[in-house]
């Protein structure tokens, strides 16, 4: 008699465990497999398109630089274009700065109610970027994607997209700029209070380190200027 209740519980848990695994697996295969293939295929296609775009930008740049010597107007225009390309993030930038790493908590003891606090969110990245600009950053990249005027950090489900590129933790945010000013900005207790609290309480991975000789890549996406005209 003493064993009846534990035995019933035992049977219930075995059944629950088996069903959890089985349902998850069946649902994943039935609905997600083709969608997953499509997402991966589109991401691969995007990588190819970005490589083509970079190649064309270089070709055009070479032609313009070559032709700049043909007359003064071309030379002046080319100088202005170079300045704007740099300001817009279309050229690689190297220098000292800081690296911020952001990662989901790695401990597996997090309770379901707190999972949300132990993982990275798109808003964490936008907050980190905001502090970097405030600290005088000259160039920023998130996992190799340059942050420019059109950059969005977008979250769908638990996947994050930066410049339309799929990425997942850990995130490395490279920031070129004045190191002391940047470190002060990140140390400021008024900044990133939520992230720092989640790091201390829930084990969220968040670290700011001084870095030398960083290289931030150029922006490789489309400029998409179609509706706006200079006035």
């Amino acid at each position: 008699m003493v064993l009846i209740l534990p035995a019933l519980l035992f049977g219930l848990l075995v059944s629950l465990q088996w069903r959890t695994q089985q349902e998850r697996s069946e649902l994943t295969v039935r609905y997600n497999a083709p969608l997953l293939d499509a997402a991966n295929s589109l991401q691969n296609e995007q990588n190819t398109l970005k490589a083509q775009l970079a190649d064309l930008r270089k070709q055009l740049d070479d032609i313009q630089k070559g032709a700049a010597s043909q007359n003064t107007a071309s030379r002046d225009l080319q100088a202005r274009i170079e300045e704007l390309r740099s300001a817009a993030g279309l050229t690689e930038r190297s220098g000292d700065g800081v690296t911020i790493t952001l990662d989901d908590a790695r401990a597996t003891t997090t309770q379901a109610a707190n999972v949300d606090k132990s993982i990275c969110h798109s808003t964490d990245l936008t907050d980190i970027v905001n502090v970097a600009w405030r600290g005088g950053a000259q160039a920023i990249a998130i996992n190799g994607e340059r942050v420019v005027g059109s950059t969005s950090v977008y979250c769908v489900g638990s996947t994050i997209m930066v410049n339309g590129t799929l990425m997942s933790p850990p995130f490395a945010v490279l920031v070129v700029g004045p190191q002391n000013d940047l470190l002060s900005a990140y140390d400021d207790p008024r900044e990133l209070g939520d992230i720092k609290q989640r790091r201390d309480v829930y084990g969220l991975g968040f670290r700011v380190t001084r870095s030398s000789a960083l290289t931030v890549p150029s922006y490789g996406g489309a400029l998409n200027v179609r509706f706006g005209t200079p006035r």
Partner: protein
Amino acid sequence: MRTNSGVIAATVVALFLGLLAVTQVRAQDVYSRSLQLETPSSLTTLIANLAERNNGLRDEIFDLRVRTESARAEAAAGNGTLTESQKQLTQLEVFAARTSVAGQGISVKIDGSFDDKALSDLINELRNAGAEAIAINTLRVGPRSWFGMQPDRSLTVDAAPLRGPWTVTAVGAPEVMYVAMTRTGGIIGQFELIYRSTRFSVSRETALVLPSLANPPRG
């Protein structure tokens, strides 16, 4: 002897129970960021976003191919690449916020309490919806713009204070941006739940004029 067997059996069962309970809890708690565990609905949204980005890249590649050939011909004729360079300059001036910009778009009016984090989220959402140029009241948002808040609760953009009510204007595809802002569960809906006493209104605009960046950063 019978008692000892009973205790041992009960102990073994209890151990199994403990093990299974822990396994069950972990199966539900451990969070994986793998794309494979996204829901079909999330994957569909991701696919739509990727497809849209790729279309933008394809359009720009097509345009750039034409312009590269045109520049090559212009340079071969010994005339420099004035036509192409002027086009590129125009595009870059808009992209880098170095010129005032005119065009269609939307405006988002915010009247009531609001904060810098929410403003940053709104700008991020507009950029994701394809905004080409954004301004808040009379200040243009640039590639390195940052948002803050003063002790008197007024917002700051690049350290310049901006008192409410605020009007965020964005040049871009009006319908795409309008739908992105106002869809069910979208950012404006979320704001309305959080800032209950604040009034938000979104409207399509046919002729916006946004200023250029007030103080372009150096370096």
